[in-house]
């Protein structure tokens, strides 16, 4: 991929969280919520990030837009390293990177009208000269996401879940971002509404040339919207590639079992290969080896001792596994 069209280049970011000490003289241990996470996203690209709960996908996303401070690694946005900028220096970049949250019931201020919710970020980033211009802009974006002009003086509780998610999207769009992180934007919605929101996101990408990081646990949804897909397990990116490569030719043992666990319409679920056990808690910082080794049917001695790094197996298709390169 040429360096020019890279909008975002994330290099080896690590985010650790401290664990509770068991004794007062004990050294604080850290858990690796995200370990050595690298990804680059092109303009107008949708990168889907998949994994089970607790695998660090939301932490990775939040670290990328610096809602969390990265412990290691660099985040290069449009040629500038933003990973060490101060809050004030960061402000111009804040409006370029927006976020749509999972729960439309708690991510909108219940005491503000829809108009206020969308006008606020425009005023904050001084993208309009005065309030009436800001409101005009807000109206424009609300119209784009399908909220009627007659509804803009209502409060969030007067809207359904799908409508609220539209408002969240309008709020993110209002500051004219280049990059949006959508963290499980449709998981709280019914399927027929989910389809409406997914179609809306795809339309908006075309219209405003947006790049997305699309986080979801629903693989079918990710397959539907993403250009490229990354699979995370316990804080590590274990495989990524184009959506075709991941879904037609998954190579990492974890990806394979994850895909086979998805219920498919009309297929008896009794035939699926089932992974035994559950996701263990994320490893502490001194852990070495493959995070998946203990549940992997093909693990060897080396998997338990050395951490696998991402290797390119076919053009654009990377996996981190010791035994998968045939």
């Amino acid at each position: 991929m040429s360096g020019e069209d890279k909008l975002l280049d994330v290099r080896n970011i690590t985010k650790k969280f401290p664990l509770a000490r068991t004794g007062i003289f004990e050294k604080i241990k850290y858990v690796n919520a995200v370990k050595d996470f690298s990804v680059s996203i092109k303009r107008k690209e949708i990168f889907g990030l998949v994994g089970e709960s607790g695998c660090g996908k939301s932490t990775a996303a939040r670290t990328i837009i610096r809602l969390y401070e990265p412990d290691e690694g660099n985040i290069i946005y449009n040629g500038t390293d933003i990973s060490r900028l101060t809050e004030k220096e960061l402000r111009p970049y804040r409006k370029k990177m927006q976020m749509v949250f999972q729960n439309p019931y708690s991510s909108l201020n219940p005491r503000h009208t829809v108009k206020e919710i969308v006008t606020q970020p425009i005023m904050f980033h001084k993208l309009a000269d005065d309030r009436s211009e800001a409101e005009e802009k807000a109206m424009f974006y609300l119209d784009k996401v399908g909220v009627l002009r007659s509804q803009i003086d209502r409060y969030p509780h007067q809207f359904s879940g799908g409508q609220r998610q539209r408002i969240s999207i309008a709020r993110a769009l209002a500051v004219a971002p280049d990059f949006i992180i959508a963290d499980e934007p449709v998981s709280a919605l019914d399927v027929s509404i989910q389809a409406q929101i997914l179609n809306l996101l795809l339309d908006l990408r075309e219209e405003f040339s947006l790049s997305f990081m699309f986080i979801a646990h629903d693989l079918a949804v990710v397959r539907h919207v993403s250009d490229r897909v990354g699979i995370m397990y316990l804080g590590c990116l274990v495989e990524y590639g184009s959506y075709g490569q991941i879904f037609e030719n998954p190579l990492h043992p974890y990806t394979k079992t994850l895909l086979s666990a998805v219920p498919v319409l009309g297929k008896r679920s009794m035939d699926s290969v089932v992974l035994s056990g559950e996701v263990p808690s994320a490893p502490t910082e001194d852990f070495t080896g493959c995070v998946f080794a203990h549940r992997c049917t093909r693990h060897t001695e080396v998997c338990l001792q050395q951490t696998p790094v991402l290797k390119e197996i076919e053009p654009g298709h990377y996996i981190a596994c010791w035994s998968a390169d045939k």
């Binding site: 089970e52 009309g266 297929k267 679920s269 009794m270």
Partner: protein, 334 residues
């Protein structure tokens, strides 16, 4: 699926629900959460109930157990279980049926266990109440049940408190409790919705095997059509408190007739094949206080015509055992 052979003397159906009506009398008016739902379930059968939030699928499940609290009330219809009418039973008699012959698995594993008692105590409570087991006997059975649902080292885990388990493990415990008395009917209301796909796959598989090996029946309530289609013998699709389509799984999934079912199936992103623009069902579910007079799907329907506005379409058979409630679906005509 091969049919389970008829069981002696018993009536044809294990559960036969006819024209069930459950209404909620709120200050704003009457909500017809379940409005004339009929279905039946044979012994050993798995019935999937699908629909979007608010369609009345959970209320249907609760109604079968008569777990409807005011302002809700079962207004009419019949619920025949093992040949006896549940609606005619006293509260005392119902208590003997709940958790004993019919048990329920709820959606949220985080809130359906009591946080201040150990798992053992909670399983043994059921065993004592309904099975008459005590002490050592109950303990052994509890351990055995935990092993059955796939909890590793059940001997020590049985003394754990709910917070020591993950979501998936808790749901296993709940399944263990619901199976404790070998009920003939299990109502599972979104049993895996709160869980990850890999855990969901394990649990559904396990639940299915346990149900089949006990020759029990199950009503699986879920919003996830793919999940339901994977385990059910028959499916009913609900919309606005009514059954709009029902039939054998394969038939409903491969040959959906009602425009709502068709829309629902087309709005699900697929795991294989080419990616296409998702079809969306336009509009929203109608306000429960302002239900349309005729067909409740009429305002969103593409096939809609004059008659749909005023007359509710009755369920009619379009294929063997496959019923649809639409004036125009399938044969386009009556």
């Amino acid at each position: 699926m091969t049919n389970i052979p008829e069981v002696r003397k018993e009536p044809e159906y294990l559960l036969d629900v006819r024209e069930l009506k459950t209404y909620f009398h709120t200050f704003k008016g009457i909500v017809r959460a379940v409005d004339g739902v009929s279905f039946s379930l044979k012994k050993g059968e798995v019935l999937g109930v699908v629909g979007e939030s608010g369609c009345g699928k959970s209320v249907t499940g609760f109604s079968v157990l008569r777990l409807i609290d005011p302002p809700g009330r079962i207004e009419g219809g019949e619920i025949i279980f093992e040949g006896e009418s549940l609606l005619k039973k006293s509260e005392r008699e119902m208590e003997k049926i709940r958790g004993n012959k019919i048990s329920m698995i709820f959606q949220d594993p985080m809130t359906s266990l009591n946080p201040v008692y150990t798992i053992k105590k909670q399983i043994c409570e059921t065993l004592e109440l309904h099975g008459g087991l005590r002490g050592r006997e109950a303990h052994n059975r509890a351990v055995e049940l935990l092993r059955l649902v796939g909890i590793p080292s059940p001997e020590s885990r049985v003394n754990y408190y709910p917070h020591q388990f993950s979501g998936g493990m808790r749901q296993r415990v709940i399944i263990a409790i619901s199976l404790a008395t070998s009920p003939s009917l299990i109502i599972a209301d979104e049993p895996t919705t709160a869980l990850d796909v890999t855990v969901q796959a394990q649990l559904i598989k396990r639940l299915y095997q346990l149900v089949k090996s006990n020759n029990s029946s199950m009503i699986l309530i879920s919003h996830d059509l793919s999940l339901v289609s994977g385990v059910s013998d028959n499916i009913i699709v609900m919309y606005c408190g009514r059954v709009i389509e029902k039939g054998p799984s394969e038939s409903v999934i491969s040959n959906p007739a009602h425009p709502y079912t068709v829309g629902l199936l087309e709005s699900i992103p697929k795991m294989t094949g080419e990616r296409k623009m998702l079809q969306q069902i336009s509009g929203l579910v109608p306000n429960p206080f302002e239900m349309p007079m005729g067909c409740s799907f009429y305002p969103r329907c593409e096939l809609g015509q004059k008659i749909c506005e005023t007359e509710y379409p009755r369920l009619r058979e379009i294929e063997e055992e496959h019923y649809v409630s639409c004036h125009f679906a399938g044969g386009r005509n009556f």
